[in-house]
């Protein structure tokens, strides 16, 4: 096996290069004083060496330095610095406890709060969004939303209103790896994407990587959205909550044993169904919609070297529709469940280990009944995964990460059952797709010189489609002529690939740097969408003997500069991405092409290209904060069986995308926020001519996606008032926001209304545009104690 050899050779070289000398290690954790939460990616800087490191996702850091005296400065955004002098003559363990800085009405410039991290770190094409920032952005219906907030960053585009998907650098919504505490989330939206499943009160960290992701991430071509939940305050009990117009939330957290273990439970539910119930009368009685979600977490620190975390997410949406006049009823429940168990272990101060086991389940059911006829459609994914991750910090010059990951997938892309009276229809067997998904990785981030830092990673991957499985073989007329039965665990198709990842950062000076990255990615599972909107009915499907892995190569380069002593962060990034083996449905299919057939017999394959420039300016200090992001980009597709083999704009093509986010702290009571977005209109395929067949009007369609809907733009504002505290424990604030302030009717889709009267020889067609959201005000009462 070629890739094993390459992999181990790589590890061996790294160890060799590091060398041995008289060095000692300082290691420990960086934590928040008030809650005891770990602070990930906090800076731990050695003044004398002008070198430093960052804490990992669990707040752990390690510095191996030559014997000597050092001044260690630890800093984290929003917190005051802590400086300690250390005499290093043997291995030491120190924990740093940081306190949040309180922002005063008069501007305070605390040295050290400013950071040139965006310039100095090797990370490019990525953003860390603190939850506090997300909470200040005006929100839709008063619901703070992680997914909507990242769509305000350059390079990330919303897939439209009523949709939870997002596009990163021209890639589809299934090309984003969304993780919640290491577990994959397959559908991150509630009701058709109006809200995401992430409850901001339970979230600690949001990290978005658009390109050049380090080798520990893999499996999706376009981005990684890594979200981690809070651990739970291990000092005191704390309650946060909010009552809004259509939903409410409550979070309870606290220590089980102070300093040692804590818990967090967070829940949210809409009550649109309760509010609208009295209005849904008569024949529609019984129709309604509600969603709820629940986040729960427990962690236990056995010792300074061992910690256990258990977390879970449970969410459900239920949509029911009744029309008693028609005798028709439909129920549409769907949801995600994720479970994570993690064990952190520190071996010898230089070696940190994390063992994670996760379970993830996404499913939807569509159950419709009409008098005697019942139709039920089920689609779902179940993942069982385990991964072992190591961080090794042999010296202050190298940060080495390596590990192994394994996931077992169980896909059920679409089972249907149908019944009339007592007769059950034969819609074909229910087919599961099972797969083994494995990867090894190793990544080293090291300084070649004071100005030049490199990150090199390699990720060998292996994917197997295994039985039991039934393959319908089609003849040239697309008729099923034969079936092949595979036994359980029998190997049907195997794919193995190596993904190299390289990036570098060259510092021109303290506030200026140039970065570049190159990465190759393979994606072994994809979303097969019959429609041009991401509906929850889209089915996830793995690579099989019919579907080869999707593959992308991305080049990115960027220039980063901070101004006015790190008050303004600016960057320009250019990217170019090529993609192969993209899938789409063959033209002219409907859902019954999936019955008595494998869904993947209906796919066609092609390639794509995506390139663009992203501009970003951000102000982080003072009363007025915010950012402006602008992306100029183009993305196209080329499929031999679609659009007669001619290149066409991808559905995700948005030439211009502009976001402006502003927050203003007037004083410690009043805070204002505003958002403005502008995007080029969606591409769509329209009919260009028509003719008669059997006296009926028939349409002839133009080239795929050759028409643009009107541009999308909208502004939102919000006002937040904090009630005076008077020294009591109870804090509360009220938030008033307006979505779509100037009531722009943005196109959701267009359709044509044709009236024919053959006898009088007249046909008139009018184009109609449907818009989703008009101006929507909302009010939310937030409290905590």
């Amino acid at each position: 096996m070629d890739f094993y050899k390459t992999f181990f050779l790589f590890i061996f070289l790294i160890f060799h290069v590091i060398g041995w000398s008289q060095k000692y290690t300082i290691s420990g954790y960086v934590r928040d004083k008030k809650s005891g939460e770990d602070l990930p990616s906090a800076n731990v800087y050695v003044e004398e060496l002008k070198k430093g490191t960052s804490t990992n996702n669990y707040g752990f850091f390690s510095l191996t330095l030559p014997k000597g005296n050092y001044t260690i400065k630890v800093s984290f955004i929003g917190y005051g610095d802590v400086i300690k002098k250390v005499i290093l003559g043997k291995d030491i363990k120190i924990n740093f406890v940081l306190s949040e800085t309180v922002i005063q009405a008069s501007e305070i410039t605390v040295t050290g709060e400013r950071s040139n991290k965006n310039v100095e770190s090797i990370e490019m094409s990525s953003y860390k969004l603190p939850v506090e920032t997300i909470k200040e952005i005006p929100s839709f219906m008063g619901e703070v939303d992680v997914l909507k907030s990242i769509q305000l960053l350059p390079g990330v585009q919303s897939s439209g209103e009523g949709n939870s998907g997002f596009y990163v650098r021209g890639g589809g919504p299934d090309q984003n790896l969304i993780l919640l505490d290491n577990a994959i989330v397959y559908n991150a939206g509630h009701l058709f994407g109006f809200f995401s499943i992430f409850n901001a009160d339970a979230i600690k960290d949001v990290n978005l990587i658009k390109g050049g992701a380090p080798a520990n991430y893999g499996g999706r071509l376009s981005s990684v959205l890594d979200i981690s939940m809070k651990e739970g305050n291990n000092q005191t009990y704390h309650v946060d909550g909010g009552i809004g117009v259509i939903s409410s939330r409550l979070t309870v957290q606290g220590p089980i044993k102070k300093d040692t273990s804590s818990f967090l439970i967070s829940g949210r539910r809409t009550y649109i169904d309760v509010l609208t119930k009295p209005f849904i009368k008569g024949k529609m009685k019984g129709s309604g919609y509600y969603f709820y979600d629940l986040n729960a977490k427990i962690n236990y620190r056995f010792s300074e070297n061992n910690r256990l975390f258990l977390s879970g997410y449970f969410g459900r949406d239920v949509f029911s529709f009744k029309n008693s006049e028609d005798g028709f009823g439909a129920k549409f429940p769907w949801g995600n469940t994720t479970l994570t168990a993690r064990w952190n272990h520190v071996f010898n101060q230089k070696l940190f280990q994390n063992l994670t086991a996760t379970f993830s389940n996404y499913h939807f059911i569509f159950d419709a009944e009409q008098s005697d006829f019942e139709f039920k459609l089920y689609s779902g994914v179940k993942d069982y995964a385990i991964s072992l991750d190591y961080t090794y910090l042999p010296s202050v010059l190298h940060t080495l990460k390596f590990g192994a990951q394994y996931t077992f997938h169980d896909f059920e892309p679409g089972s249907a059952t149908a019944r009339i009276g007592n007769t059950n229809f034969d819609t074909g067997k229910i087919i599961h797709y099972y797969a083994n998904d494995m990867a090894l990785y190793a990544n080293d981030e090291f300084d070649i010189s004071e100005k030049l830092k490199f990150s090199i990673g390699i990720r060998p991957t292996l994917f197997q489609h295994i039985g039991s499985f039934t393959r319908y073989q089609l003849d040239d007329k697309r008729q099923a002529k034969d079936t092949i039965q595979y036994k359980p665990f029998e190997n049907i198709a195997t794919y193995s690939n190596i993904e190299p990842r390289i990036s570098l950062r060259y510092s021109l000076n303290h506030s200026t740097s140039v970065k570049a990255s190159y990465s190759q990615n393979y994606q072994y599972i994809q979303l097969a969408s019959m429609s041009s909107a991401t509906l929850p009915t889209d089915a996830w499907i793995p690579c099989t003997d019919q579907i080869k892995p999707q593959f992308a190569v991305q080049y990115a380069g960027g220039f980063f500069k901070n101004f006015k002593n790190d008050t303004y962060e600016t960057s320009v990034e250019l990217y170019y991405k090529t993609m192969k083996n993209l899938i789409d449905y063959k033209e002219g299919l409907t859902s019954d092409d999936n019955m008595g057939n494998n869904p993947d017999n209906n796919f066609t394959f092609g390639s794509g290209k995506s390139y663009g420039a992203e501009f970003f300016v951000k102000r982080r200090f003072g009363k007025l904060n915010g950012w402006v992001g602008y992306t100029l980009s183009k993305t196209t597709r080329l499929f031999p069986e679609i659009n007669n083999g001619k290149e066409y704009p991808a559905k995700y093509d948005r030439r211009h995308d502009l976001s402006v986010v502003l927050t203003y702290d007037l004083n410690d009571k009043w805070n204002f926020g505003a958002v403005f977005v502008y995007a080029t209109g969606d591409a769509t395929t329209l009919p260009i001519s028509r003719y008669f067949i059997e006296g009926r009007i028939v349409s002839e369609y133009g080239e795929r996606n050759s028409f643009r809907l009107a541009p999308y733009h909208r502004a939102d504002i919000s006002v937040n008032y904090k009630f005076p505290n008077k020294g009591k424990k109870w804090n509360s604030s009220i938030n008033f926001s307006i979505y779509n302030v100037y009531n722009r009717m943005n196109p959701y889709f267009i359709y044509f209304d044709t009236k024919t009267d053959l006898e009088n020889y007249s046909i008139t067609t009018t184009a109609k545009q449907v818009s989703l959201f008009s101006i929507l005000p909302s009010i939310t009462y937030n409290f905590n104690f």
């Binding site: 949509f319 001519s689 003719y691």
Partner: protein, 298 residues
């Protein structure tokens, strides 16, 4: 699937808004449309017309212009040639029909058609498959009805995969042409080699649209889809070849997804080569007549 979209759209209707817009589109090149067939036991026929731009207003003059009157249409079975001549068919839109006079369709044979319009030539090929006969026909009244109902047909599908059916009905004294229900075509994927039953309803004749309201009810409130007791109905069950089936299937799909913003729109799958669109299809024919008694027994 259609129901799911309908519900979603309905729920959106509660919060969304609609307005009329103008769509700016370039004028397309007009193509020639061929709607032609050869049935077992009949001469070939063809309607030749042109496409019109989607938003162009259509009135009687424009419709008349869409009909091609100067086409040269030739059908051959490989041995003989038959040049179709223009004639008037008052019962079928668009009324001007090219009709053959020499070649009569025979089961098991292949037929080619050549159409020349304005110095451009288009070709197509089709076969007339052997017909599959019906076992029986039966009239069943609809729920809560005595005199109104549908016709059920019973047949046994041949053992080979790849039988494509298209069904037509004609009510004597009422219908001047054969009408077909929608959907009208079916392949034998789900019932290959087995006995099959299928419900037929009376199809729509676009020329009669004004006799019915938008819900399909006539002035007495009776739906146009019903057959009635006392009627004599001729049922024609035809066999068509694969490319012919693909054309009607794609047309019926387009009607299903028409107006659905979530479906990928597709043009019809023509079997004509050379740049024209439409269909040239052969039909293997089996005809049976059902006399529905005045007082139906279940």
């Amino acid at each position: 699937m259609k129901r799911m979209v309908y519900i979603f759209l309905l729920s959106l209707a509660l919060i969304s808004c609609e307005k009329e817009i103008t769509v700016d589109m370039p004028t397309p090149e007009n193509k020639i449309v061929v709607e032609a067939a050869i049935e077992e036991g009949q001469y070939a026929w063809a309607f030749i017309s042109r496409t019109a731009a989607y938003f162009a207003p259509v009135d009687s003059a424009i419709i008349m212009n869409m009909i091609v009157k100067n086409a040269v249409v030739v059908v051959t079975d490989g041995i003989e040639n038959d040049t179709l001549h223009l004639s008037l068919d008052p019962y079928t839109f668009p009324y001007l029909k090219y009709v053959g006079s020499k070649i009569i369709g025979q089961a098991g044979k292949q037929y080619w058609i050549t159409i020349t319009v304005d110095e451009k030539t288009y070709h197509a090929k089709t076969t007339i498959p052997h017909a599959v006969s019906l076992d029986s026909l039966k009239f069943k009244p609809d729920n809560n009805q005595d005199t109104l109902g549908f016709i059920w047909l019973y047949l046994k599908d041949p053992d080979t995969l790849g039988n494509y059916y298209r069904a037509f009905t004609k009510v004597l004294g009422k219908d001047s042409v054969f009408l077909h229900p929608y959907p009208s075509v079916s392949d034998d994927r789900f019932f290959n080699g087995q006995k099959a039953e299928y419900q037929l309803y009376r199809g729509r004749n676009p020329l009669e649209d004004n006799n019915y309201n938008p819900q399909g009810l006539d002035s007495a409130g009776v739906a146009r889809w019903y057959f009635r007791t006392g009627e004599t109905v001729i049922v024609k069950i035809t066999q068509i070849d694969n490319l012919h089936y693909r054309f009607w299937y794609s047309m019926e799909q387009q009607f299903m997804t028409d107006g659905n913003p979530f479906a990928t729109p597709t043009s019809l799958k023509t079997n004509i080569e050379g740049g024209a669109i439409g269909v040239w299809g052969g039909y293997g024919v089996f005809i049976d007549t059902l006399k529905i008694p005045k007082y139906a027994k279940n």
